[in-house]
Symmetry: C2
């Protein structure tokens, strides 16, 4: 069993990005510039956004953090999106989710210029990904593809089973894994309504768990030799930890790991890759690699 | 074994649409108006477009056919799309594919206002479908959903195997069949690179064949009692037919039909539903049901 080290991979990629940025700047080019919009003071969101700003620094990007209180109106937020859409210096930006209930997340997402949508949530990017056109691919699925690639894990023709059908992981992952251009695998998507999810999971050469249920994947659901990718990050109360909780994946790691050829740990697997992929998308935006 | 009669279902739907149009007109509303753009004189395209115009008549729609010769420039075609985008009377329009090689189909598709994109090929509609938002769903997948629904075929929790991963059938079909809102099924997508396609197919409660290879699906690939949906329509030379060919599905009908609970014939199964779904989309466009 080999551990897929997302933390080390993410660090290596950030170093590669930083080196490329220095080459761009040395050649007279502009540093990529990411803006992040944060509404309110949700603990998780604060942490994510802080880590995104730190990642920008590590990559040599410019970054701008725009903060609003919880009572910001939808109109104010839309006006902010509009300013960022037209801001010449900003290459890409994100609006950190979730947003307060009085603001339509979908309306905000659709207001973002898709050419600056480095989160890859705008329907144009989602649609272009589905039909295999150049686009911003959202961070978690992109990070998983990157891990598979950097660990030279063969996917073509192999059976990939995805547990979960969320818009941000399960569905895009399925689309990517089935495409010739990316995974080129035989893909099955299981979810809460699947009649025999355990049996389906056992067929997987590559099992991607994204259900958000701690230790959901047990040893009897994994074929010996399978590659297991754990996308779950549930906060489980744990008095022994300084923060009072620990992150628990969707996979019962102790049971499952000995069966696998490769497995991602939680934390330190898929998680560190997501912010890193946001950086990759921002670099691509800065270079106008995807959209002119 | 019950035959799924696409021809009769399509006729019934067109009648329902025509009745609704008459109610709309009687209430002082406007007849839905579909425009079709046809480039060149390809036999298949001529037939499709003629049938679309006839279907408009059957449904009580206005229709406009715009013809160009093969040597039309991309710029001329883009100008035509722009005129139709801004044409107040036209609710929806299609540009019949394929286009001559000197014209980028993707560029034309993306130039169409997604609110008039009744073919559902614009990335915005593709993306909105993927994430479960209201949108124009393209005709073939929509027609298959409609057949399953009208024949009261349960899909929730069942295993749906899709053979083929084209942008117009396999991929959107997978997205629809896995969504809670539509199929709510466990979905597997197989293709040319799948290691054991036959075995996968045999697992299907609902088997959707869209590979474009005549009689590809044989009896050993079908579980007894399965629902088999045949999307294939290959022209096979046949001297005994007036036109010199017959349409052959992806399924070896003689062998497979006795095994099935339900099966679509070719012709007369999925085929007749596609134009009918274009009419449904045009009605929705006329009523501004999806986009304001």
């Amino acid at each position: 069993m080999q551990l897929i080290d997302g933390k080390a991979t993410a660090a290596a990629i950030k170093k590669e990005i930083a080196e490329e940025v220095e080459r761009i700047v040395a050649a007279g080019g502009k540093r990529p510039h990411l803006a992040a919009v944060l509404v309110g003071h949700d603990g998780g969101s604060e942490t994510y956004v802080r880590n995104k700003v730190l990642a920008c620094e590590a990559c040599g990007f410019e970054s701008t953090l725009i903060r609003y209180e919880d009572d910001v109106t939808e109109a104010e937020l839309l006006a902010c999106v509009d300013r960022l859409n037209h801001h010449d210096e900003v290459d890409g930006f994100i609006v950190q989710l979730p947003l307060p209930a009085h603001i339509s997340e979908q309306k905000i997402i659709e207001a973002i210029d898709y050419r600056k949508d480095v989160d890859g949530f705008h329907p144009i990017n989602v649609g272009r990904m589905a039909i295999g056109l150049p686009c911003f691919i959202s961070a978690t699925p992109k990070g998983i593809l990157e891990l598979l690639q950097r660990y030279h894990i063969e996917t073509t023709g192999r059976k990939c089973v995805i547990l979960g059908r969320s818009n941000i992981v399960g569905k895009p992952m399925a689309q990517l894994m089935m495409q010739k251009l990316y995974g080129n695998a035989t893909v099955t998507v299981c979810h809460s309504q699947s009649t025999d999810l355990k049996k389906e999971a056992r067929e997987a050469d590559i099992l991607i768990a994204a259900v958000g249920s701690p230790a959901f994947v047990t040893a009897d659901m994994v074929k010996p030799g399978a590659v297991v990718i754990d996308v779950g990050t549930t906060r489980v109360p744990d008095a022994s930890r300084p923060k009072g909780f620990r992150l628990q994946g969707d996979v019962d790691f102790e049971q499952v790991a000995p069966l696998c050829s490769y497995i991602t740990p939680v934390p330190g697997g898929v998680g560190p890759m997501t912010i890193c992929m946001l950086m990759m998308n921002t670099l691509a935006a800065g270079k106008k690699e995807i959209y002119a």
